[in-house]
């Protein structure tokens, strides 16, 4: 690993855990750290989360102990006790989650003991260790899930054969998380499944607490939430399926089949859904055919994204759009030894040749690791082969790069500073159509 990360496309563990905790229904996070951590999250969202800031608490409404030098010297547990006691008085919530930050962890506060005492007193309160030095926002999400599964989800006597839990979409890091979770929920519901997605408006603390009844956990990510899934299996016995994040008809059909197979559901329900949704997808896509060909909208695609999106976008543009994703950059800091795992989890998909798939966290380094064929041929009678016309699907930080490649660009991955996302989703069938609209929109804007 390098000694630095340049312009990381994620924040710290606390940020990830906080964005996720704030997204849970009726839940109040309590940040045990210095005051600035919460504001950092709010401003990070302002610039990176496609104009979505804060949860129901508002961006600076998250309770926090706001530690100062005094606590660094004498410990912060008294302050934490006081804060918890008063949080219940001020804040409307039913579940309270204490999230630790760097400072409380480095000074060694025994947060567990405090939380335990409130828990024994009957309060629904849990805690996760999410100090920034423990890792990035994806790690924070994972830690939050682990805490929930360990300390909040109740053991269940029996499984409900058509109930599944689904996770792997990281609130805030996936700026489309709200629409994406809703879309996946709808897809699985249309297969006559009951679905817990934990973080949407249709979830509740009750269904979260009963999540152990699920017959299957579906992790729609090769990376995020897999550890949590293992812990879930350990504690509650529910097995899990690691499925690729499904964008567009090909991947979504495969996804639905994987889920059905894991649940030992007959193909009937799956095929009905796939047939209906595919019919609809291609009915809507079909009128684009003439412009697609006549305007030559096939592109060499440069994909830059996290482990969910990088693979999902590459598969979508290759399998459904007929694009050529010549290089795919995964911007997560994935240790060498885990890279094989990730690739292994792309079960059934063709392996990516080495030169096509690049793990790279640093924004400028992406440019340095580009195949020279991305760089545009200067005008004149130059016959050098090039990846042109090109399109960059990345974050808003990749605009300069796209411009220098004379390529189109769409901001999809964090940070997304230059668009607003509300319920938009790129997942599933309709999400695929939405992505086609947005990609083409970026290509023909001057038309």
């Amino acid at each position: 690993m390098s000694s630095y990360i340049e312009r990381p496309r994620f924040s710290c563990a606390l940020c990830g855990a906080l964005m996720a905790a704030a997204a849970l229904p009726d839940t109040i996070p309590i940040v045990h750290s210095v005051a600035g951590c919460v504001g950092n999250v709010a401003w990070t969202q302002q610039g990176g989360a496609a104009l979505q800031v804060g949860g129901p608490c508002g961006c600076l409404g998250i309770p926090g102990t706001n530690l100062r030098e005094r606590e660094v010297v004498f410990g912060g547990l008294d302050r934490l006790r006081e804060q918890i006691a008063n949080t219940v008085v001020v804040m409307e919530g039913r579940l309270f989650i204490v999230l630790t930050g760097c400072v409380s962890e480095v000074i060694g506060d025994d947060v567990d003991s405090v939380v335990r005492s409130y828990k024994w007193a009957g309060m629904d309160i849990i805690t996760a260790r999410t100090g920034g030095f423990r890792g990035n926002s994806y790690r924070g999400y994972e830690e939050l899930l682990k805490t929930l599964f360990r300390d909040y989800v109740r053991t269940a006597k029996r499984k409900s054969s058509r109930l599944v839990n689904l996770w792997g979409v990281v609130p805030g890091m996936d700026v489309f998380w709200r629409g994406n979770l809703e879309a996946m929920r709808r897809l699985l519901e249309s297969m006559r499944l009951e679905v817990n997605t934990f973080f949407t408006g249709e979830d509740s603390l009750e269904t979260l607490a009963c999540a152990a009844k699920a017959a299957l956990n579906v992790v729609v990510s090769p990376l995020y939430g897999v550890e949590a899934a293992e812990i879930f299996t350990e504690i509650h016995g529910t097995t899990y399926l690691v499925a690729p994040f499904p964008i567009g008809p090909t991947a979504t059909g495969r996804f639905l089949h994987m889920v059905a197979e894991a649940l030992h559901i007959g193909n009937e329900d799956v095929d009905r859904v796939i047939d209906r949704e595919s019919e609809r997808y291609y009915r809507y896509l079909s009128p684009l055919t003439d412009p697609w060909i006549d305007l030559d909208l096939q592109r060499y695609a440069l994909i830059i994204g996290d482990a969910n999106y990088a693979f999902a976008l590459a598969d979508f543009v290759a399998d459904d759009l007929g694009w050529l994703p010549e290089q795919v950059f995964v911007t997560d800091p994935v240790p060498e030894d885990q890279r094989e795992d990730i690739l292994g989890r792309r079960a059934g998909l063709r392996p990516e040749p080495e030169h096509r798939l690049v793990f790279e966290t640093d924004t400028s380094a992406i440019r340095h690791r580009l195949d020279p064929r991305w760089f545009p041929v200067e005008d004149g009678n130059d016959y050098r082969e090039s990846f042109s016309p090109a399109f960059v699907i990345g974050s808003s930080m990749d605009r300069e790069l796209a411009e220098s490649l004379r390529a189109g660009h769409l901001s999809v991955g964090f940070p997304v500073a230059n668009r607003a996302v509300l319920d938009r989703s790129y997942v599933g069938y309709s999400g695929g159509l939405r992505l086609v609209e947005d990609l083409v929109g970026a290509m023909v804007a001057a038309r």
Partner: protein
């Protein structure tokens, strides 16, 4: 010994006894100075807020030819994703082309916490210098290095001869201060220590008697600078805008000015005192050029230092007449409307005066901290005998929600990221600043009035929102004293 001779600047708490906790009224504050909220008043319940790292990066990220290395956990500094937008827009407005901030983090991990982060920092500096060759490299220290004791200044000094980039250490250990304004001192500290001497070999001309340093703040965009520049030029002055978006390599030119002009006392006192002590440059710092009267006071202050009394009165008279005529059609809508303001202390107070000039009544005010610079401003607002609630708080929207439910103001003006409580309660809101729009000088008054006018004309967005979403506070909370979580150990309270 000057503060600037030390590696790190003092906190505002120790230098100015600034504080962040008070609930009372304007009359309770006016004239009482720093005693008004005692240092040890504290909240028994608090909500997250920001730390000095954020405003510090607001300045640092804007500097051209500069890379920023944040020494800390990976999350510290991701606020830059937001500031990057401002830097893009600001660069486009100033240089015709958007520019993305180049920044790095040492992304300290568990092992670093145990073993210390100096090695990683040193490697990072060397690697960045080699790979990216920035002209300047700001090294920002955050909480973890502050606790585990990384000696960044010594390290920087040690390796400086081997590093091509000019390194600028800035200290932003969030736990050391609750007063974000310490950020300005932290940045000015490194500027004062590293960038005020002209480079060797550069011919230094003598002081320029028409040149003033116009101290901008990162919440002011190019239009605000242009408005102030316009006014100063009308006085026959040349303007050196400083430090936001200023070229670090040219900052030494500030030492040639005849006067430094602050636009916000909270922002600049530490540095301007240094410029005066070290380079003999006087400064004017008493007013913020926000509002009609304040802008005039600001201009007069400058003029008085430079002997431009007649000129300034001509400018003020002409500008005021022009503005007043333009405001005329907008004012009827404002008459008697009740306004609530929440922002940094100087900015909130100056806007209070401005809103009164437009015909609003001030019904309450929240300021992020309190220090001696604001005393005169409180007195301005309290002068006419009217009284209103004042709440000093580093955000703490729970107190705000309670206050707003009681006061039901007709309009709310708040700091960026601090308007959503009022908005979700259905109150028309106008951000008290937005980099890239007009807020200061005469033009600022006019544009703000237009903005208020249209928000009050159609507040549907907030109204619809209020009908359908609720804040996350218990109903019981609204029935309690809004300041009941302020631990009163002192005097002068409600």
């Amino acid at each position: 010994m000057s503060y600037f001779d030390r590696a790190t600047p003092p906190t505002r708490e120790s230098r100015l006894a600034s504080c962040i906790t008070y609930g009372g009224t304007i009359c309770g504050l006016a004239g009482k100075g720093r005693r008004s909220c005692l240092e040890n008043a504290e909240r028994s319940f608090s909500q997250g807020s920001i730390c000095l790292l954020l405003p510090a990066l607001g300045i640092i990220n804007s500097l051209p030819d500069t890379a920023v290395l944040i020494h800390g956990a990976v999350g510290c500094g991701t606020v830059t994703h937001s500031q990057n937008c401002i830097v893009r827009m600001g660069s486009a407005a100033r240089h015709g082309k958007a520019r993305d901030v180049l920044w790095f983090t040492t992304a300290l991990q568990e092992l670093d916490v145990v073993n210390g982060g100096e090695r990683r920092l040193e490697d990072a500096i060397r690697e960045i210098d080699r790979e990216h060759s920035p002209k300047f490299l700001v090294v920002v220290t955050t909480c973890i290095p502050g606790i585990i004791g990384d000696d960044v200044d010594t390290l920087v000094e040690r390796i400086a001869p081997e590093i091509k980039a000019r390194m600028l250490p800035v200290h932003c250990e969030g736990f050391k201060t609750s007063i974000w304004a310490t950020a300005y001192d932290a940045v000015y500290h490194t500027i004062g220590r590293n960038l005020l001497e002209p480079p060797e070999g550069e011919l230094t001309s003598g002081p320029n008697p028409r040149l003033v340093n116009l101290m901008n703040v990162s919440s002011m965009g190019r239009p605000d600078e242009l408005e102030l520049e316009r006014l100063l030029r009308a006085l026959g002055l040349e303007v050196n805008i400083f430090p936001v978006f200023a070229d670090p390599g040219g900052m030494h030119r500030a030492t040639r000015a005849a006067l430094s002009v602050s636009t916000c006392p909270t922002h600049d006192d530490y540095f301007l005192k240094h410029l005066r002590e070290r380079y003999g440059i006087p400064f004017s710092i008493r007013h913020m050029p926000i509002g009609i009267a304040n802008t005039a006071l600001w201009l007069r202050d400058i003029a008085s230092y430079l002997g431009l009394k007649d000129e300034v009165e001509r400018v003020i008279a002409r500008e005021t007449a022009h503005l007043q005529a333009a405001l005329e059609p907008l004012l009827p809508l404002f008459q008697g409307k009740r306004a609530f303001i929440a922002a940094g202390e100087m900015r909130a107070l100056a806007n209070g005066t401005l809103l009164r000039e437009l015909g609003f009544e001030i019904t309450g005010m929240r300021t992020f901290h309190h220090d001696e610079f604001a005393e005169g401003e409180y007195e301005k607002l309290a002068a006419d005998g009217s009284d209103f609630v004042v709440n000093i708080a580093d955000c703490q929207p729970f107190e705000e929600a309670n206050l707003l439910r009681r006061l039901k103001p007709d309009v709310f003006m708040g700091h960026v990221n601090a308007n959503s409580t009022a908005a979700r309660m259905g109150i028309p809101t106008v951000a008290i600043y937005q980099v890239g729009m007009h807020f200061v000088g005469y033009r600022g008054v006019y544009e703000l009035a237009r903005r208020l006018h249209r928000q009050i004309r159609n507040p549907s967005f907030n109204q619809r929102l209020a009908e359908h979403v609720r804040l996350c506070y218990r109903e019981e909370w609204y029935r309690r004293d809004p300041f009941s979580h302020i631990q009163r150990r002192g005097e002068d309270q409600l």
